[in-house]
């Protein structure tokens, strides 16, 4: 790992406009903050996982890194280059080195293009169509373990697992250094899920890729991620080394998420932290610590004061009353 | 009326006002851009340049364009659509005199299309692939395709001229309802028949789609009767697109009504305009266009409000 991390994100905020067009014309930039002051770094060859409930801002964050979503404030540094404020044209080469994989395996493939054209697309977009595209397509298909004759099929003729592999092949077409994988196993059966994760792991080992993976499956995180971050209402509430966080979560929300993970063992006795109520809306964020409305350990202080960042071991978190190592939730991890 | 509904209605009305102003702006632009000067059109080819100039001044056409527009817009707002060239009566009065006849005709057309179209569509959807479905399928396409004025001419030829079952021309004796209704049958059928087919198809399609929805499966799984599922769970949703489309349909029926009035020599806006064209009575033509446009826009507003009442999702997603 070189001295400078491959990707460093610092205090990034992303806002979505809301309200009618008339009020926005009136010059009042109301909006909701979907990503709210996120900072992290990602080293070369490292796998970093983002976890959190739906609507916590995971996908928005990944799209922001790729330049699909404008940054309101903050900075993103990728491979020695600042990304915030780049034009579409300047962003283009970056996107070749930092491709994205999308949730819906079939839906993320253009329905009227054959697999051949889909796989050739990255080369065409990046002005590399002088290469022998047929050979490139064959190489990519082999790389992801798909038969050559699949090249003339259309997305709707592929199974979920096959479409996912085509998605992976497209992502690695231009020898990237970082892959942003948004729920790469969503909607896949467990037996196929393993294949896709193994493929990603292989590619990481062979090509030295870094991977940013978004998933809600914590078991997947434990299997493939080196480090992880837990998002809640657009913020990182805790981030750290995966093994340590599974062993000893310090933020009550992390502990609750980890415990809310049914395990395939009927004899397991669960020490579950059941969270009351539902996730607050981004439009009306709670005061103080934003998790206090659902936190089992909330104190009066939590409702009034924003918690400061704390470092415990390798974990960084924002909480007034972090859990000790012997937290009850620790028993939930295997 | 709930406050939410009130707000929605108000917003929808406001949008209607904006659209009408925009349409007026476009109308004005078209009048201005089209080669051909309203004054010379009104006076005909044998007018001397001096006569044209005089009329131009009288109509305000010699003023700068923005002044003309302000004038045009301002007087329209006051209900002043100009005066008829020949009789000197206000255009609005002349148009309004004829409007009820046209509205009656459109009302007749809507009655045909709703009273026949909705039940036919329902029947076709419920017994999908059955006899009714197939007959309705072919017939509805056929009646949609054939232009209404052709229907008008042929029905006049067959039922009035050849068979003499129904009266051929006029709107019936004033004050005699049965005579008026008798005179309404053929023209309103010509106006409405295409829409019978259109609505039948529409109801059928959206009914089929709704019946496939998962909440219908839920209702079945709770053992609700087929009758209740069809008529109060599915039809309520399936009818929604029909309401919107009927709003638009009224605009198209207005077009058909123009032809029906001319073919059946019925009083009404269409006949008024047609006769105005032949004598180059130009303010009547634009005045009638403006009145019918406003009518059409606000009928659509009404349709949207009705949808809002029927479907709470629309209300809250608006804006």
């Amino acid at each position: 790992m070189s001295a400078e991390p491959l990707l460093s994100v610092s205090d990034v905020r992303v806002r979505f406009p809301s309200g009618s067009s008339l009020t926005s014309l009136a010059g009042k930039p109301r909006g909701i903050e979907a990503v709210s002051g996120v900072s992290f770094t990602l080293g070369r060859g490292e796998t970093f996982a983002l976890v959190g409930e739906s609507g916590s801002g995971k996908t928005t964050l990944a799209r922001t890194l790729n330049g699909l979503q404008a940054v309101a404030t903050g900075s993103i540094r990728f491979d020695g280059q600042h990304l915030v404020g780049l034009s579409e044209a300047q962003m283009k080469p970056v996107r070749g080195r930092m491709p994205m994989m999308f949730q819906d395996p079939v839906g993320s493939l253009s329905p009227r293009l054959s697999v051949r054209l889909l796989l050739a697309e990255p080369f065409v977009i990046h002005g590399l169509s002088k290469r022998d595209l047929n050979a490139e397509v064959a190489r990519l298909l082999a790389l992801v373990g798909l038969p050559r004759d699949l090249a003339d099929r259309y997305p709707h003729q592929l199974s979920g697992g096959q479409a996912r592999r085509v998605g992976v092949a497209r992502a690695i077409a231009l020898d990237p250094v970082l892959v942003l994988a948004d729920e790469p196993t969503a909607g896949l059966d467990v037996s196929v899920q393993g294949e896709v994760l193994n493929l990603l792991n292989d590619l990481r080992d062979r090509m030295g890729l870094s991977i940013l993976i978004i998933t809600h499956n914590l078991h997947v995180v434990r299997q493939i991620a080196d480090r992880m971050a837990v998002m809640y209402l657009g913020r990182f509430v805790e981030q750290g080394e995966t093994g340590a966080m599974f062993r000893a979560p310090h933020h009550p929300y992390t502990a609750a998420l980890l415990s809310a993970n049914p395990e395939p063992d009927p004899d397991k006795i669960h020490n579950r932290i059941v969270l009351p109520a539902e996730v607050p809306s981004l439009v009306a964020r709670p005061s103080g610590c934003e998790f206090h409305t659902r936190c089992p350990c909330a104190q009066p202080l939590c409702a009034s004061d924003v918690p400061p960042p704390v470092t415990i071991g390798a974990s960084r978190l924002t909480c007034h009353f972090p859990l000790s190592v012997e937290a009850p939730a620790a028993s939930a991890s295997a | 009326m709930t406050p939410e509904m009130f707000r929605y209605t108000l917003k929808r009305l406001w949008l209607g006002v904006i659209i009408v102003s925009l349409a007026m702006m476009m109308l004005f632009a078209m009048i201005y851009l089209i080669p051909g000067d309203p004054a010379s059109v009104a006076l005909g080819p044998r007018a001397t340049p001096a006569m044209v100039e005089a009329l131009r001044a009288r109509m305000g056409l010699d003023q700068p364009i923005w002044m003309q527009f302000v004038h045009f817009y301002g007087s329209a707002l006051r209900g002043d659509l100009g005066t008829e060239v020949l009789s000197g009566r206000p255009v609005l009065t002349v148009v309004m005199e004829q409007l009820p006849f046209t509205l009656a005709l459109i009302g007749g057309g809507i009655s045909w299309s709703v009273l026949l179209g909705i039940p036919l569509g329902c029947m076709a959807a419920v017994k999908r692939g059955g006899f009714v479905d197939r007959v309705v399928g072919v017939l509805s396409v056929a009646v949609i395709a054939v232009p209404s004025f052709v229907v008008a001419i042929y029905s006049l030829l067959i039922f009035a001229v050849a068979l003499e079952w129904l009266p051929a021309i006029g709107a019936g004796e004033p004050g005699n309802l049965s005579s008026q209704l008798e005179h309404l049958i053929l023209p309103s059928l010509a106006v409405g028949i295409g829409w019978v087919g259109y609505i039948a198809r529409m109801v059928r399609a959206s009914m089929l789609e709704t019946l496939e929805a998962s909440h219908i499966r839920t209702a079945r799984a709770f053992g609700l009767t087929d009758r209740r599922i069809t008529y109060s769970y599915a039809l309520r949703i399936a009818i929604l697109p029909t309401v919107t489309v009927l709003g638009i349909g009224i605009g198209q029926m207005l077009s058909s009504a123009v032809f029906a009035e001319i073919v059946f020599a019925r009083p009404g806006i269409g006949k008024l305009v047609y006769e105005a064209i032949s004598v180059r009575n130009y303010p009547i033509v634009t005045g009638a266009l403006l009145v019918t446009t406003i009518l059409f826009v606000f009928i659509n507003v009404l349709a949207d409000v009705v949808i809002g009442v029927l479907d709470s999702r629309v209300r809250s997603s608006f804006n």
Binding site: V190, Q223 | H215, S312
Partner: protein, 327 residues
């Protein structure tokens, strides 16, 4: 006592590409007051099974053999549509997967809850009171006010809880839950499972719980059924199957779940091969083309090998798997 027993049920669909055998000789029982899980990957026939039980198979589908006995004597495959409808919602209630689409979007929640009580003979007021009670039971805050609201005014988790409230309102003998937690976040998922457990205990009904999530099945169910390509390959108590799986498919399926791995593995286990084409089933054992233990004998239809208790596996080598490697 057995509440529901499915015996040798086969269901076929007529499709453009030919006859598709969606279910083949399916056997399972749901004892009274128990929760039975059905687990399997996509295309295994879970939904067809539910639709067959509810009598809601599509027009192109047909029960070709077998019976579905409910409360001992009623064969659901032979009941008329009126008799079947009398059972649905009253004796057999269902919660479906999609919480967003499960409720009618243009009718208020209260109206929909009243409508399903149409056979109760209660007054409108009484029906509303019962609805409010049920909403309270599924922990919907402020149920009186909520009753007049429309589905789009509720969150996904709340909608699913309303669906559960509706299903349990008539105190059915059997609740069929078709992946009711799949569309929910993990925190909501466990809350919903806890809720289902509590309500099942209160009402004393049986539950047939369909899921592809092994963890949820393990936590919630007393017994379970493993399906593969339209067949029940193994069934037994949850304990037996998670600890002593006999069918090679079950063992593979369990091995694939990353949650079962105690350590971080460089390679996650997978099942080689793909699901067979149900229009053209392989000869003999359905899993044989993908099975490492397959041999000549597997080309013949395998027996339902019975073990201690209710444990059954449809495999020639069920004994051998037992002796083989542990999962």
């Amino acid at each position: 006592m057995t509440l529901l027993s499915v015996k040798d049920l086969s269901v076929a669909f007529h499709t453009e590409g030919g006859r598709l055998e969606a279910l083949k000789r399916v056997n399972l029982t749901v004892p009274a007051n128990r929760i039975v899980g059905v687990v399997g990957e996509s295309g295994c026939g879970k939904s067809t099974l539910i639709n067959a039980i509810l009598g809601l198979l599509a027009d192109s589908g047909e029960v070709t053999s077998g019976e579905i006995l409910f409360e001992g004597d009623k064969d659901l495959t032979r009941l008329g549509s009126d008799q079947m409808r009398a059972l649905r919602g009253q004796k057999i209630a269902t919660v479906f997967q999609d919480p967003m689409g499960a409720l009618n979007p243009v009718l208020s929640v209260g109206r929909q809850m009243r409508d399903i009580q149409y056979r109760s003979g209660l007054s409108r007021q009484q029906k509303n009171e019962r609805s409010i009670d049920m909403l309270r039971k599924v922990r919907i805050p402020d149920p009186e006010r909520r009753l007049v609201q429309f589905p789009h005014e509720f969150s996904g988790g709340m909608k699913q809880r309303i669906a559960i409230a509706m299903a349990l309102m008539m105190e059915p003998a059997l609740l069929i839950a078709d992946e009711p937690t799949t569309a929910l976040d993990a925190t909501l998922e466990v809350a919903t499972i806890e809720l289902l457990k509590d309500l099942q205990r209160d009402i004393g009904c049986s539950v047939l719980f369909i899921s592809h999530h092994l963890g949820v099945i393990a936590e919630l169910c007393n017994e379970m059924v493993v399906m593969y390509a339209g067949e029940v390959v193994e069934r037994g108590t949850t304990h037996e199957i998670f600890h002593n799986a006999r069918h090679p498919y079950t063992r593979k399926l369990l091995a694939c779940d990353p949650a079962r791995l105690s350590r971080r593995e460089p390679r996650l286990p997978t099942i080689a091969g793909t699901l067979p084409d149900l229009r053209n089933r392989p000869q003999g054992c359905i899993f044989q083309p993908r099975c490492e233990l397959a041999d000549e004998v597997c080309r013949m239809a395998p027996p339902d090998a019975a073990f201690e208790g209710s444990h059954v596996a449809r495999c020639w080598h069920a004994e051998a798997t037992m002796a083989g490697v542990s999962p």
